[in-house]
Amino acid sequence: MAWFNRKEQGITTPTTEKKETPDGLWYKCPECKYLTPSSEHKYYAYTCISCGYHERIGSQEYFEILFDEEQFTELDTNMYSADPLQFVDSKPYPKRIATTMDNSGLKDAVRCAYGKMNGIDITVACMDFGFIGGSMGSVVGEKIARAIEYALQHKTPLIIISRSGGARMQEAGYSLMQLAKTSAKLALLAEAKVPYISLMTDPTTGGVSASYAMLGDFNTAEPKALIGFAGPRVIRETIGKDLPKGFQTSEYLLEHGFLDFIVERKNLKAKYTALLKMLK
């Protein structure tokens, strides 16, 4: 009999005497349940060291991953949503915005910044899924347009990190036109031969995929991200059939010719640096 065998059956420690593990010390992978110390999880760019699962992170984390010494200057930090349609569904749109602002600590679904990546000047626009599903309304469109403008003025390569369910319904027609606005700005950037790398992360669908996300000189994605125009539920309902396994994943898009490459997040900075250096 091994020395560590439990002699008594059942746990006898009363609940009141149990010691709680402080929150945030460990990360448990939702895919494979593997436990990693949080510091290590951050070191691996918020990906699971066991199964490679990419946690859905936000702009702050991406900025820290990409910019040297986590140093960057944010653009248009004070811009927030208006309510041009006086839109009301289950609650008025301004109320929804205010609640989301409070809960997320964000002003809207994108943040833009410039700084250095391994010494190269870059401009980055990064979406936050935590703000109404990363939906694109006037603020997202305008901030991305201005980030493109900044990249154009300063001739810095542009990286847009997409993570969005699509256009924001509460701004209806205005949201739709943000597809046009951002695509127009990217046309000007392309004309000036300033490189643009699009990074699609989980998920990138709807109006975002049908505009700037697909218009990169280089279209790239994180592994296993959901990427598509229509969401899987809509497609399933339309055709009345189950969808093939792996449908609309990064790997599927790569196979069908819509991505240049898939990049693991922990290699993101090095790979983008190498790519941009080759264009110099």
């Binding site: 248009d76 811009m79 927030y80 949503s81 208006a82 041009p84 349609l85 839109f87 009301v88 569904d89 289950s90 006037s138 603020v139 469109g141 305008e142 347009a145 256009a167 924001r168 319904m169 701004e171 209806a172 027609g173 205005y174 739709l176 036109m177 943000q178 597809l179 046009a180 606005k181 695509s183 127009a184 700005k185 990217l186 046309a187 000007l188 669908t205 709807g206 109006g207 995929s209 049908a210 505009s211 700037y212 996300a213 697909m214 218009l215 990427i227 598509g228 125009f229 229509a230 809509v234 497609i235 339309t238 055709i239 969808l243 449908f247 609309q248 599927y252 069908h256 010719g257 819509f258």
Partner: protein, 318 residues
């Protein structure tokens, strides 16, 4: 087919028809009878005006989908002296939900592109309910590039419940095809006029709707999503489509008020289908007039105005 809100008008029209059918040979001379008919006719006109000038947003959506409403090829065939349809995207296939070709109006050559719906079950299937696949958008772009090459203005006619959401559409890059069109349309050196003639749903509409002048027919709608799908997402049921239509502010009048479109083409009282000939005439005049105005501007100036116009769309606080 009649829509529910048209019922009172239909009843009066039936009454009038009955009255006229019962007229005897000499009744025309009877002033009392002709006055009665005149009164009833006036009443019908008044009721029509009241009804159609005060339609709710959902009622306009219903009109925009009226099964008798003229579709893209109806307009093209009726306003062009000659039309040669051009097919295929040169890569995959010929998408019948997206049509196009060269036509002439009063001697002027124009490239037409637009979504096409079908009128009966077989046609609807063939045209995929006006929902294009990626090859449709690529076909549209190919034709627009041909127009640019030969310096011909482009007219796009938009009438779609959305780009097709299917497995093959995703496989062949629906998102990329639409994004590419939107971007490329900004760079076209020739005048581009876009007219929403029925339904203008989301990216599927915008994929051929970036132009120097974007016009809407009076009873068309244009928005980021259809009222039904908006209802399904926000209220988790299709039952709130009327509220959704109201909230989306998707009519031509709304869109013009927001400066998201450039003009409205009036329809005959009761909608384009009640008097298609005058609808064709109105669209034809709008096309000729708009091309005339746009051709006075240099290509570079047109492109920069086109970009500036869309760049100014959006309302934010800061």
């Amino acid at each position: 087919m009649n829509l529910d809100f048209e019922q009172p008008i239909i009843e009066l029209e039936q009454k009038l028809a009955l009255m006229k059918s019962q007229l005897g040979a000499n009744d025309n001379q009877n002033p009392a009878i002709s006055t009665a008919i005149k009164t009833l006719e006036d009443e019908i006109l008044k009721l029509k005006k009241e009804t159609y000038q005060n339609l709710t947003r959902w009622q306009k959506v219903q009109l925009s989908r009226h099964p008798d409403r003229p579709y893209t090829l109806d307009y093209i065939e009726n306003i062009c002296d000659e039309f040669i349809e051009l097919h295929g995207d040169r890569n995959f296939s010929d998408d019948l939900a997206m049509v196009g070709g060269l036509g002439t109006i009063e001697g002027k050559s124009i490239m037409f592109v637009g979504q096409q719906k079908g009128r009966n079950t077989k046609q609807r299937q063939l045209r995929n309910f006006g929902m294009a696949n990626p090859e449709g958008y690529r076909k549209a772009l190919r034709l627009m590039k041909i127009a640019e090459k030969f310096n011909k203005p482009i007219v796009t006619l938009i009438d779609t419940p959305g780009a097709f959401p299917g497995i093959e559409a995703e496989q062949r890059g629906q998102a990329e095809a639409i994004a590419r069109n939107i971007q490329e349309m900004f760079k076209l050196k020739v005048p581009v006029i876009c007219i929403i003639i029925g339904e203008g749903a989301s990216g599927g509409a915008l994929g051929i709707a970036v132009g120097d002048q974007v016009l809407m027919l009076e009873n068309a709608w244009y928005s980021v999503i259809s009222p039904e799908n908006c209802s399904a997402i926000l209220w988790r049921t299709w039952d709130y489509k009327e509220q959704a239509a109201q909230a989306l502010k998707l009519t031509a009048q709304d869109m013009l008020g927001f400066k998201l479109i450039d003009g409205i083409i009036p329809e005959p009282l009761g909608g384009a289908h009640t008097d298609p000939l005058s609808a064709y005439q109105a669209v034809k005049q709008a096309i000729l007039q708009t091309i005339d105005n746009l051709e006075k501007i240099s290509p570079q100036e047109r492109i920069s105005q086109r970009i500036d116009k869309f760049d100014n769309m959006g309302v934010v606080n800061e």
